[in-house]
Symmetry: C2
Subunit: 308 residues, 2 copies
């Protein structure tokens, strides 16, 4: 999938992933009214609204970007109905030719990670059948438990040609509390990055490995250092837009070949219609506002890469 | 819930949590046959088998132990049908008076952790309704993202009187890869432990805090040090039994008052019928074998605490 991701990035000229992280407050009144009218103000109603919202946005952006990244927390908050909307969204994105990065941040001891890897990326044996669970193309993974928690994901990545993005340096303000701790004079996130590079060596696509890294746009200097430490690693960069990361900060995350990074924006795209800059679209054309926001972001990144 | 947990530990004399982590290979042939007969060799069939298996075990152990700990990975591997079986299991355990520790190891940036906390422990606003998602009593949480990823869980713990167990030192062989790294001469897990104690101060029950810690039974010396660092923290101890932790290793995790720790066993209880020691029960009485395994474990812990 890493090769397919790179191919689609080249085709679209957009190293962009759209975060499908729908809070109910991002969803236009009309969609909420219809969904609640059908299922009540219930988890099923919320899940229906989320699904209709996602579908409209996916229809508008699927030709512009290579991938989406649904954040499963936003679905789990509505219980099983929400998780069904997650699965439905993954399936629909695939129909529309989009790659799906499941932002699930799973990670556990070996045998448990194997179940997560099977459920999100691979297949599980049920009687004589092999069945896929959520069937994302990539998943985000938490490294705190060490190699034996990662290995089952690597195995599935090799078997199914799928990929993972391991948390290295996250975009949030307190990410440094543990991740920046110096050990032998070097921050923990660099040790994680070295492991990511080593895991990636066992799991190569054509030019980049299937083991990516998450490094927040909010820490561009660290991004530059990590870029050098992990030359064959694709970096998934959250934190652009709403969290404060800017286009000019992004260049550091890319390799000389213009590849090696894919930048996520969630609220900045899916709730664009609520921003002053896109107010002209109005509530009814919310998905068109998202499309326009993708175009603006694509241009911002293009300029950042050109002017370096 | 921490006070209720302690009350039930005292009543049952069993500081034990049963891990409801059903792999299909743990499930007797008869249950699988019925479930596959009804729903086919499909995720729905697997989920039905898991649910019937769990229910039979819960019926046999609910008077003996205070709590169960379903590992959500074992459910997610079967996609949405599996997640429904998870939710159903949580509900049934509550009916039977058991506390439920959702072993979900979630953790993300602030706004996303808020959605996880709402979905697993709290409530979410849907129109004019406040709706619970999975409604566990406790959840396990990954600390790698730092305080702002934990804070939303603390907020829900305060509001709903629920609890979390933060990963400090996990039971797996490679847990030391990052967790044991020395920073200023001290291992990272101790820094996490100090944070756990500090977070707990803001979130106290009567005698222990609502912020617990996960420390593996496989590292009893570290357990002893961590016990002292976090005097008001309940420690959830995985790794007993199948992973190699023994009764005599457990004493270090408890305070002088005989409280302060709760020990998990998963395979050792739910797949007891497959062990030689319990072979006499046969496949049909698999749940009785689980009951007997709980009694043996209770005695093992009692002796470990008495002989210290």
């Amino acid at each position: 999938m890493i090769d397919r991701l790179i191919e689609r990035i080249k085709e679209t000229g957009a190293p962009i992933v759209v975060g499908l992280d729908p809070m109910l407050r991002f969803i236009p009144e009309g969609i909420l009214r219809d969904a609640f009218g059908k299922y009540g103000e219930t988890p099923a109603g919320a899940a229906e609204a989320v699904w209709q919202f996602n579908r409209a946005i996916v229809d508008e952006i699927c030709d512009l970007v290579p991938a989406v990244k649904p954040q499963i927390a936003m679905y789990e908050q509505f219980g099983t109905a929400g998780v069904e909307a997650f699965a439905r969204t993954v399936g629909y994105c695939h129909e529309k030719g989009l790659l799906v990065i499941g932002d699930v941040k799973r990670g556990d001891i070996g045998s448990t990670s194997a179940a997560y890897a099977a459920g999100h990326l691979g297949k599980v044996q049920i009687g004589s059948n092999l069945c896929a669970g959520f069937d994302e193309d990539f998943a985000t993974v938490n490294p705190y438990l060490g190699s034996d928690g990662i290995e089952p994901f690597l195995k599935v990545c090799r078997e199914e040609k799928k990929g993972i993005f391991v948390l290295v340096k996250t975009s949030n303000p307190s990410s440094g509390e543990f991740q920046d701790r110096l050990t032998d004079g070097r921050p923990l996130y660099e040790l994680v990055a070295e492991k990511v590079a080593a895991w990636g060596e066992t799991c190569m696509g054509e030019t980049y490995s299937r083991v990516g890294a998450v490094v927040g746009a909010t820490y561009p200097e660290m991004g530059a250092a990590l870029r050098l430490l992990m030359p064959k690693t694709y970096i998934l960069v959250p934190g652009y837009g709403a969290q404060g990361g800017k286009g000019k900060d992004l260049a550091a995350f890319f390799n000389e070949d213009g590849l090696g990074a894919i930048v996520n924006s969630s609220r900045g795209i899916i709730a664009a219609w609520q921003q002053e800059a896109y107010a002209g679209f109005g509530e009814e054309k919310f998905a068109k506002a998202s499309r326009e926001a993708v175009l603006v972001m694509r241009e911002d990144i293009r300029q950042a890469l050109e002017s370096r």
